[in-house]
Each structure stands twice: as structure tokens, then as C-alpha cells.
Symmetry: C2
Subunit: 253 residues, 2 copies
Amino acid sequence: AAAKQQYPSQPPSPNRSGEIMKFGFPDYGQIQMHDNYVISYDRRMRNAKWVFECLTRDEVKYNDAIDRTNCQFEVDQSVHPFFRSTNEDYRGSGYDRGHLAAAGNHRRSDGVMQQTFLLSNVSPQVGDGFNRGIWNNLEKYVRGLTKVYTRVYVCTGPLYLPHWESNRRQYVKYEVIGTNSVAVPTHFFKVVLGETKNQSYDLRAFVVPNKATSDDTPLKNFLVPIDVIERAAGILLFERLPKSLLRSVNAPL
Amino acid sequence: AAAKQQYPSQPPSPNRSGEIMKFGFPDYGQIQMHDNYVISYDRRMRNAKWVFECLTRDEVKYNDAIDRTNCQFEVDQSVHPFFRSTNEDYRGSGYDRGHLAAAGNHRRSDGVMQQTFLLSNVSPQVGDGFNRGIWNNLEKYVRGLTKVYTRVYVCTGPLYLPHWESNRRQYVKYEVIGTNSVAVPTHFFKVVLGETKNQSYDLRAFVVPNKATSDDTPLKNFLVPIDVIERAAGILLFERLPKSLLRSVNAPL
Ligand SMILES: [Mg+2]
Ligand SMILES: [Mg+2]
């Protein structure tokens, strides 16, 4: 039967894809390299898909000369106007402009800190009890890891997780804010890979709901198997890390 | 103030991005070239993001030798197991396995038709009144355009559109089915660019809700400005088409 034969049964013209795509690709991976972090932007959600950092003690060290009150949230002009989020989208929404690559991780210069204030690196976050609470605790914990590890790789991003309803079906539901319809993630993930001085690695993976959570909730309560994040976010993490170098996963904090 | 200075204020190390991304990128544009269509796969949604075809009268011509009953829906093995949709995901869901690149557009060989049965080219669609109704009418209309135009470029994909709720906020809500959490789009789009023999172009853009709609609803009721689709899908369409060659947009069908 046709279904069993190996296709192509008949060769296409040599440049068929070029013909089909003659007038341009609708999109391609939206990856931007900044000075101190790398971001993949999700144009449909008006949120990052993931943000990658590599922290060291020096990068995150408190520095009198770098003051975040000098920084301002700004539209990312490199994002096409159809897909940007703006300060106006957040106004009156009730949500904070929450950093994904945390400002406090980028203290090498005013320039690198200001880059974290690009709105492409920002998601709508519940303020009290999340951005200014448990999520901030997690960010501080991650910075603290630079005292233990020579390098700390951090991948952060939004999630839009399904829930069961009484009809025994699952749904994803999230708010969108502003005239640009910026998605409000239901959860955020942060995956942290600590590199020891003899090049072994400890991995920790967190998912935190985008809602007020008691400030004194232990961070270990948010540990999840890394594939939960990979499946939900549509990404694969640290694929090039040799498994033999992985010393621990979700070890006690 | 720091916010006004041009960043970077201090140059990063020459290969900073390489350092940050040392263990691999979480994802990149998931674009696949098939023999007769091109697809961008959305790993998070377990649906295509968009599918591009270029139809001619010959490609879509009815051909006794090509029989869709020989074709079978099959898992796309080129998609990582975390992000695939499978036939089991659809079983008992109540949704059809709906083609994006329509099988009937690919009659050059069994092989090219079978490629449209890859589940990466398939989305959960309401069967009665949509996949087997109004959406099928639209597909036939598009095939019919090959009698009028020398080439017909077609971009098709899912949408997940927001709605207003009584709290005066907007939400996106969609079902997910199966163990792989395959998203059920709220709407589908189809954008059609017809090329005349003297290289001018007519553009038509459709959005149809993924629900039963009376079979005799005129297709013109589903015409929308193309930027509505671009904004909602996070894509830009036909960017490389010179505007001066565009003869009409959403002209009478
Ligand atoms: Mg914050
Ligand atoms: Mg169909």
C-alpha cells in the first residue's frame, strides 16, 4: 500500500522549497544575543519563550556604581511593531513588569543592566507575593549559588499550563493585556545548572505559579522533573551537557 | 541617565553568547521542508505554526492513480517524542485529524499525498460542520483558484484567539487533548495569494472558527484584514512580495 512505501516516491523539483517560499518565510527562530543574556522571543505571545544567562560571582556582585533606579523599561525596537509589548500594555492591568533575566544578575555595567529592562525580557507578573515575593526569593537563591559554583547557567521562561475542568477535559486559559494582547503566563520556570570547579554539574528545575504565594514557602516545594518544563515549554534544555558530568538533579537546596 | 545612553556601555567578551549557550540552544525555528509543502512546527502547542503550499492546476488535478484511502495518518518521527502528536491523542477526543496542507492539493504522487498525513500537518478540528463542512468548502475554493491563477500560494495555520469576559478582561482559552496535550485551536487561518499570468497578485485572507458553521455560509463572510492574522499568529506574510505587484486584497470571490 502507498502508506507503507518510503516517500518521496517521486523526486520533487530540486528547489521546490525555494519556489513555495518565494515571498519569504512567515517567521524563523526569534533569537537575540544581548551582551549578557540570550533570548528567544515568542512573537505570538508577546513574551519571551526562554532567556538564558550564565552567572558568576563577579557578574552578580553588588556594585555601588550600578543603580537600577537609573534603568527604565523600554520597548524592544528590534521586535516588529505587531509583536511588541509596551509600557502602555501593562498600565492599569494590575500586573508588574517582571524581569525574566533578573536585573540584579547583571551588575557589570549600567549598559548590561539596562538591557534587562527591554520589554522583550519582561512578562506580566503578579506583584505582591510573586514578583516582589516568592519569585524574588528564587532569584536571590540563584544569585547565591554563584558563591558555591564557578558558573551558574540559568534558563527562565513563562508557562501556560492546562487544568482539568469538571467535564473531564483539560484546558489552557490565560489572560491577555493591553492593545498588544500580551499573554499573562500561568506559571514561570527557572532551570539552574551549577558548574563545580572540577566540572561536574548540579541541576535544579523550578516551576512557580504566577500568583501570590506565602513568602516563607520553601523553594524546594517548587522543584519539578526537568522534562515537565521541557514538555510544557516546548524546549529541550542542556542537550549538549554530557550526562556523565551530571552529579545531581534537584538535590536538597 | 543610564537609560538614555547607547548600550552596550562596555563591550562584552567576544564570544559571550557562545559561553552562555555552551550546552545548547533550547530550541530554534522548527522548519521542515517536505517535497511539496513547508511547515513550521510549534513544539509547545503540538500543532503546526504555519504550513506553506504553492498550488498549480497540475498539482491539484484529480488523478485516478492517487487514492487518499491508501494514505494513513502517521506520527512525524522527525519531531522529538516530547512534542509529537499521535493518533492516540485524537482517539475519543471528539475531534477530527484535520489537514492543514490539504491532501487534495497534493496529487502528483502517492508519496506527496502521504506526506500531508504526517501528524505535524494535522490539527484537532471539529468534524461535522467544520473539517467536513465549511473548511472543506474553503479548501475546494482554493483549489478552484488554480483555474484562474498560474500559481496559488497558500499559508494555513491554527489560531488561539482571545475573548472578552464579563470582568472586562480578555482571555485565551483552548482545550488540550491526549497524553501529549495537543492544543485545539479556536480558529484557523488561510491566506491565499494568486499569481496572474502577467505577475500581478490577488491576496485573500480568511479566518474560520473551529466550530460547526452552516455549510452554506458564504466564504466571503470569513475574509479579514491580513494583519489580523499576522498579529494573532505572530507571523509576517509575503514580506518579500513587492507591494506594487499587489493588484487586490480581499476582492470579491
Ligand atoms: Mg522581578
Ligand atoms: Mg480536512
